[in-house]
Symmetry: C2
Subunit: 357 residues, 2 copies
């Protein structure tokens, strides 16, 4: 099997301000034992997919920073989007691109900014998904067994088990469910046949091309034009002309929710989408009652996330608080309000503080 | 009347870390409408006491910074202690010094680091105290009418009214009371004849010299030696030899609690000893529900004190919290725990972080 990996590293990540900036999105933050989430993701993949077949798609703005973060990857494997066009365009571009040289290839797709401590478990699951994709055709997703009634993720309703891959059940997916209400999330957790939609996929290049042609014909036509222009004027100029016009939709909404069949490989390794400052306390090692990164002194501050990339940060007697300091900005916000960072970033934008964004 | 003022500016002020440092104690912090407490204190005095008769005593370490802060004062009026020996030594040194040229002078004594917004009221009260000292002899203190059952201050129990000065009653002081329990503080507030000990005094040079000779003979002998050595080898060398050996005790404990008679001029102007970060919310102008100094954005953060001398500080949804940022350190502590800053400073000292102290 000719196995490729697409690591999607296009996120902007305002949720981790002030550590994350335009020039340094979430996937470049040092949340994986001192390394970036991106570097950890690519490193976890390496024993399964060789570096020359690992493609990272990111924004033109941070492409150089991404290359610097991945010294073992050929620089031309970091592909720069001139504009963000959501995940269907990103997946499509890479599928169309790989199809020219390896039309029989199987593609693994995964986000750059998730945290999965158990590398062997991830690789084994991805290998199962790739094998399922190669054997059955169709689209394959990893289905994470839920550990709580989370309302921030989409869910998959799983149907019958059609086979097993390396001991893991392969289900048919009955439907994709958008982020549920609290009540529905509780029901899903109790029902047992609902899983979190991980955003990690496997498919043959032919299968995903076929699915995009069927469900997103406008995107397929745009990708055809992009490839034709690449032959005529080179990739850089072709991207400049065509990429910003590609149909903008997520792979979930545009393809996965419509395609049949979709297979799900059930997995249950520890996983986090590292969705907010609050989530760091679930995924990072705890010290003295909370998360501590950088030059930090914390006295009696259980449950707090305290991060510094500059000044000494001293916290005393605060609970369930997020405190983050860089050389030019400091954030203090309760853990349970951490999603309000977006509101704050918007306030800064309106105040013309672009130097801090 | 030949009126002198002694402004005591010897405090170290760890309670305002990280803004206050060894090299920049509390009295140099910009808590008086953008100016330092020290500059505001000297400026408030100026219409009552001429600059050439205003003496500021501070530590040798910060004497140059104090001179820079007081451009209208003759540089030699800023007197540098080679070592801190508490307030009795400081008062005694200045009394012995002034006595040589103006033995009939009246001295006003006040701390450099208190905040009294109403300058005319302060000057009028100090003039009354000075007039009382000149007319009656003895030691005179300003007695602040309490506005709450504060346990952090010493109290004066006032006796009979012996006269009035510019409409203010002059009482005999029955006793000095150390910081009381909550229960006693409530009783004092209810009783009506207890006042806060302001730390502001007036006396003739002769009266305070006499009181020190009577109650602190060891200090008096040390001051005699210091003055003799000043004649013999100059003030700088005399200070180096004798000042660090002076008896170390506060003017309250060493003299005021023992001397008779002590007169109290009752005052009721707004006053704060600016004793902690928490107190700033009592004395500084409130904006959007709290104290804001410097580059600060605060959303829904009532009752919080947010101060920056460097990075932008953004707080969201925090209540009754103190957040202070400088270029090299950030403090986050609940207002009600603000006294624990001292513990934090001790932790830093033990950790060898002297660069931050």
């Amino acid at each position: 099997m000719s196995l490729y990996a697409l690591v999607m590293a296009g996120g902007s990540g305002t949720r981790f301000w002030p550590l994350s900036r335009h020039s340094r999105p979430k996937q470049l933050l040092p949340f994986a034992q001192g390394r970036s989430l991106l570097a950890a993701t690519v490193e976890r993949l390496a024993p399964l997919v060789s570096p020359d077949r690992t493609l990272v798609v990111t924004s033109a703005e941070v492409a150089d920073a991404v290359r610097a973060e991945l010294p073992h990857l050929p620089g031309h494997n970091v592909l720069a989007e001139p504009a963000g066009r959501d995940t269907a365009a990103c997946v499509g571009w890479v599928a169309w691109r790989v199809a020219r040289s390896k039309p029989e290839a199987v593609m693994i797709v995964l986000p750059a900014d998730h945290l999965i401590p158990d590398g062997p478990a991830l690789r084994s699951a991805l290998a199962s998904a790739a094998a399922t994709a190669a054997a059955r055709g169709g689209l394959v997703t990893l289905a994470l067994r839920p550990t709580r009634a989370e309302t921030g993720f989409g869910y998959l309703e799983l149907g019958e088990v059609v086979s097993a891959a390396a001991g893991r059940p392969v289900h048919v997916v009955k439907r994709f469910v958008e982020k549920p209400s609290r009540e529905h999330a509780e029901e899903f957790l109790a029902a047992g046949n609902y899983c979190w939609n991980s955003g990690m996929f496997a498919w043959t290049v032919g299968s995903i091309q076929g699915a995009i042609r069927e469900h997103l014909p406008e995107l397929a036509a745009g990708l055809d034009s992009l490839m034709a222009a690449t032959d005529a004027v080179g990739e850089e100029e072709a991207l400049r002309r065509h990429y910003p016009e590609l149909q903008k939709v997520s792979i979930d909404v545009g393809v996965m929710e419509k395609a049949k069949p979709v297979w799900a490989v059930g997995v249950d390794f520890a996983w986090s989408d590292v969705g907010s400052w609050a989530s760091l306390s679930e995924v990072l090692p705890q010290q003295t009652g909370g998360v501590r990164l950088g030059d930090v002194i914390a006295l009696d501050s259980d449950g707090s996330v305290v991060v510094s990339e500059g000044p000494l940060v001293a916290v005393v007697g605060v609970h369930d608080l997020v405190v983050v300091a860089t050389r030019d900005a400091v954030l203090v916000i309760p853990r349970n309000d951490a999603q309000r960072v977006k509101e704050l970033v918007e306030t800064l934008r309106e105040a013309g503080r672009d130097d801090l964004l």
